[in-house]
């Protein structure tokens, strides 16, 4: 009989399949995993986990809005656990999918989904941006500082609001210029438009521009370097893109969040985790590429503000708490 060995083979296959099933998975949002920014940081965290533990993980890059639900279901059905996804855009989909897979743990970065099997990781971008604002205000000679956000959404307004507060706290009469690159997802990938917006701000006197705009930000940093002004990068450490022109980068330690989730594996707890300056979840990047731009006074001011933010002596306003930012006027 040939059936038996076949059956046996099938059983072994199933078993070996189950053995690999507990692998974690990572879903990248539309920017792609090498966006030199948010998604890339997630990728670095996963790679570090792989190097340290020798484990394997699955990954999917989103190509269109329509794929989110399908990708999430596929991974959950295939048994990946935990499933980490980068980006607030997954919030709605995850709210629907999470209850269908109660045994699977999900991690969403940048949004809050209230389900028992979901861990929501949010960053206090307003605190990191506050620190970047201090540095920008101290470096500005024209007392005009620009902010260029990507798609106009509450999350990005949160960056802008914290930044404006840092600037105004340091130089109360400084002028803030605020622009958005668009209102559709295409706003994340239009460096030409970003460059033109940067030029528009430069013509209004800005000499430090904070780019919180994903791939569009690459164009903003480029134009800033071309025009000889300073820029502030976002999400990942972008200081090395234009050494001597990028003042600093407001780094979200997405890599740490992903690595932790992978390490905890399937027994991970749910709930909301807030990463701020106190637990080094958001930092302003200092390295050899921007050392010539950062003065000792700047460093001291940043350290002082970090402590005050951590102790609660300074409260940086969170735009998403009340959908308004009085200090920046939006």
């Amino acid at each position: 009989m040939t059936i038996k060995p076949l059956l046996a083979a099938a059983v072994t296959l199933t078993l070996s399949a189950t053995a690999t099933l507990a692998d974690p998975a990572l879903i990248f949002d539309l920017g792609g995993k090498f966006d030199k920014s948010f998604n890339e940081a997630a990728n670095e965290g996963a790679l570090r986990w792989k190097a340290e533990t020798g484990g394997n993980y699955r990954e999917i890059e989103m190509q269109s809005e329509a794929q989110r639900e399908q990708a999430l279901r596929r991974l959950a059905q295939a048994g990946s656990n935990p499933i980490v996804m980068t980006g607030f855009s997954f919030a709605d989909v995850l709210t629907q999918v999470a209850p269908e897979f109660p045994d699977t743990r999900f991690v969403i970065i940048d949004a809050i989904v209230d389900q028992p099997n979901v861990r929501s990781i949010v960053f206090s971008e307003e605190e990191g941006s506050y620190l970047a604002g201090i540095m920008a205000a101290m470096s500005s000679k024209t007392d005009t500082v620009g902010f260029i956000g990507g798609m106009d959404i509450p999350l990005i307004r949160k960056f802008g609001c914290g930044f404006a507060q840092g600037v105004i706290a340091t130089k109360p009469d400084a002028k803030m210029l605020i622009s958005w690159t668009g209102s559709t997802p295409a706003a994340w990938n239009d460096p030409v438009r970003g460059g033109e917006l940067a030029r528009a701000q430069i013509s209004q006197g800005a000499d430090v521009i904070y780019a919180a705009a994903g791939g569009t930000g690459i164009g903003i940093l480029q134009t800033a370097a071309d025009e000889g002004i300073l820029s502030v990068g976002v999400d990942s450490n972008q200081n090395a893109l234009h050494p001597g022109s990028v003042l600093t980068s407001m780094v979200k330690r997405v890599d740490v969040a992903v690595e932790e989730a992978f390490n905890e594996g399937a027994d991970m707890t749910g709930g909301v985790e807030v990463l701020g300056v106190a637990n080094k979840g958001v930092v302003v990047a200092m390295d050899e590429n921007n050392s010539s731009l950062v003065t000792p006074e700047m460093q001291a001011a940043v350290e002082e503000a970090t402590q005050k933010l951590a102790s609660g002596e300074i409260v940086s306003h969170d735009y998403m708490s009340d959908d308004s930012c009085p200090i920046a006027g939006f």
Partner: protein, 322 residues
């Protein structure tokens, strides 16, 4: 709003309008010959990627431009074979090529450079620098026109001047040469051209090739002049905006110039909401400003502002005998 601010907006207008103008003229050649081309976007994208890659590898912006034009021509050739030789649906071929461009550019750039579908940042001779036109500084003190010349006309990449020169060139070729007459005739009544003993296929391929060259320049301008390298989807829909501008221009070369400058002007205005508010004393939302060109295009299509009549044989493959 002071004069300097106005000039800054015009300066920005010219930079933003250049890729649109090149793509619009590209579409004009193709559509005037009766081949609809929705694939302007894809051609610009592949040209941007290959010009960014080759400029980085060779250190020469000109070689980058050549590579951009060559890849764009390749895309145009595929469109030509599908739409002219095999008489396929021109819209479907265009859309398919756009998708292919969107995926291929990221794939190739990632395989070659491993920077997430971006090409490495260009510097020095690998980029088209800004040209200062002769006498720009000398003429600056001349009232009104001096600053206009120095601020708006001077200080752009050579490709901007090339694009502007393409407008009279296109007009001359289309309206004043035998080739142009035949090209237009092929788009209106290919059977008549065929009767006169001229190859419809050859005329249409020639038109599609010119489209490829112009899209190639547009893509190279974005990757090697405006920016310093290719980024995924960096054309961001400019190929489609150019198509809208083409309708707005009623398929005419000079119209294409004014239409794309108008579109560029509205985009530039959207970047300066402070100016708009200061001039109109009304707080106009930025998206409303950005939507204006499309609203105008719809109005033109609906026949409120003149009439936009497309080439009569547009979109129809030519069948010699039934």
């Amino acid at each position: 709003m002071d004069y300097t601010t106005f000039l800054q907006i015009l300066d920005s207008t010219l930079r933003l309008a250049t890729p649109l103008l090149l793509a619009c003229l590209a579409g004009l050649f193709s559509e005037r010959a009766g081949v609809f081309d929705i694939g302007l976007e894809g051609k610009m994208l592949v040209a941007a990627m290959s010009s960014g890659a080759v400029a980085y590898l060779t250190g020469s912006a000109w070689l980058g431009l050549a590579a951009g034009v060559a890849t764009s021509l390749l895309w145009a050739a595929v469109h030509g074979i599908a739409a002219i030789t095999f008489r396929g649906n021109q819209l479907i071929s265009g859309v398919a090529l756009n998708f292919l461009a969107s995926g291929m550019t990221v794939l190739v750039a990632q395989a070659a450079f491993g920077q997430g579908g971006r090409t490495p940042a260009l510097s020095g001779a690998a980029r088209f620098g800004e040209l200062t036109l002769p006498f720009a500084e000398m003429l600056r003190p001349v009232p009104v026109l001096g600053p206009f010349y120095a601020e708006v006309m001077s200080g752009h990449s050579i490709l901007v001047y090339l694009a502007l020169a393409m407008v009279p060139a296109t007009w001359w070729v289309l309206m004043r040469t035998r080739f142009g007459l035949r090209l237009r005739a092929v788009g209106e009544n290919p059977a008549a051209v065929d009767t006169a003993g001229i190859s419809v296929t050859r005329m249409r391929f020639a038109a599609v090739a010119i489209t490829g060259i112009l899209c190639g320049i547009a893509g190279a301008y974005m990757a090697t002049a405006l920016q310093a390298g290719f980024g995924r989807e960096m054309t961001a829909g400019r190929g489609y905006i150019a198509l809208a501008a083409l309708i707005f221009a009623k398929w005419r070369p000079w119209g294409a110039l004014w239409a794309t400058l108008l579109f560029g002007f509205f985009q530039a205005l959207a970047f300066r909401p402070d100016v708009v508010t200061a001039v109109t004393h009304v707080d106009i939302p930025v998206p409303a400003l950005e939507a204006l060109p499309y609203i105008l295009t719809v109005l033109v299509l609906a026949g409120f502002v003149g009439k936009a009549i497309p080439p009569r044989a547009g979109g129809e493959p030519y069948v010699k005998e039934r």
